[in-house]
């Protein structure tokens, strides 16, 4: 489907992106997160607490104490150094990559990323 020139240009862009500082920072932060047991357990706990709250919303609603507990846990997760570094790196990347896509899309006259995303939400 892709001719050789397009395949090479695509791989070249992928390699250039991977070598860029923001992507390296993101990949490092992501790897760091996966090897930080404390961060992973905090994220697991947060996911479980959020799931529990969703269930409670369908069964009378959570108490104020439940909500306060969740907020405290969210704060702990957001300020845990490895998680905070990951979130910052992800935020940086999410502000930069759309601009690269915009550059590509302006040259093409059509939004590349919008066409390239698989249909269906999330």
């Amino acid at each position: 489907m892709m001719d050789e020139r397009l395949e090479q240009a695509t791989e070249q862009l992928g390699r250039a992106l991977r070598a860029s500082a923001p992507l390296k920072a993101h990949l490092d932060a992501s790897a760091g997160l996966k090897t930080d047991a404390e961060a992973m357990s905090l994220l697991d706990e947060l996911a479980q607490r959020q799931a529990l709250l969703r269930v409670m919303q369908n069964a009378g609603g959570p108490t104020q104490a439940d909500i306060d507990d969740l907020r405290a846990l969210q704060f702990r997760a957001q300020t845990q150094p490895t998680i905070a570094a990951y979130l910052q790196a992800q935020q940086d990347l999410r502000s930069l990559l759309p601009q690269i896509n915009y550059e590509i899309s302006q040259l093409l006259g059509v939004d590349f990323a919008a066409l390239a995303r698989k249909s269906g939400c999330c």
Binding site: T10, Q12, L13, L17, R94, I104, L107, A113, A116
Partner: protein, 136 residues
């Protein structure tokens, strides 16, 4: 013809690096020369030139605007619904519309294939990370 100027702000070029910027432009150029892209451009042009399609699109839009309040209230008559459906089917069956839809599907498939190669080389899903949020 001179290449159009970059849309990127100087600080973005500085952070991402010249290599990314040049590679992005080369990628766009290679994609614009792919047969699927050329076919899509041609189908888009043909659609814009087709007077019958344009006038039917206007008619369809006018009818949709007129019936929208009734459809929202579930108060449109069976005749009105049937007329809207007939016009919609006729529009979608126009040769320039079917050609455009096929060309867009082909271009979408090419972009998805390119995104897979791009994402594998980059180490993350490029298109997904360009979304501003859910369905962005």
């Amino acid at each position: 013809m001179a290449e159009p100027a970059s849309t990127l702000a100087p600080d973005v070029i500085l952070v991402m690096g010249d290599q990314v910027v040049q590679a992005a432009r080369d990628f766009a150029e290679a994609l614009s020369e792919a047969p699927q892209f050329q076919a899509w451009e041609q189908a888009t042009w043909a659609l814009r030139q087709d007077q019958a399609a344009q006038s039917m699109a206007e008619k369809l839009q006018a009818m949709q605007r007129e019936l929208e309040p009734l459809l929202m209230l579930d108060a449109a008559s069976a005749e009105q619904r049937a007329e809207l459906e007939r016009l919609r089917s006729e529009y979608l069956a126009l040769p320039c519309i079917t050609a455009y839809m096929q060309a867009e599907a082909d271009l979408r498939a090419l972009c998805q294939a390119a995104n897979m190669v791009l994402s594998q080389a980059a180490g993350l899903d490029f298109a997904a990370n360009c979304a501003s949020g859910c369905c962005g």
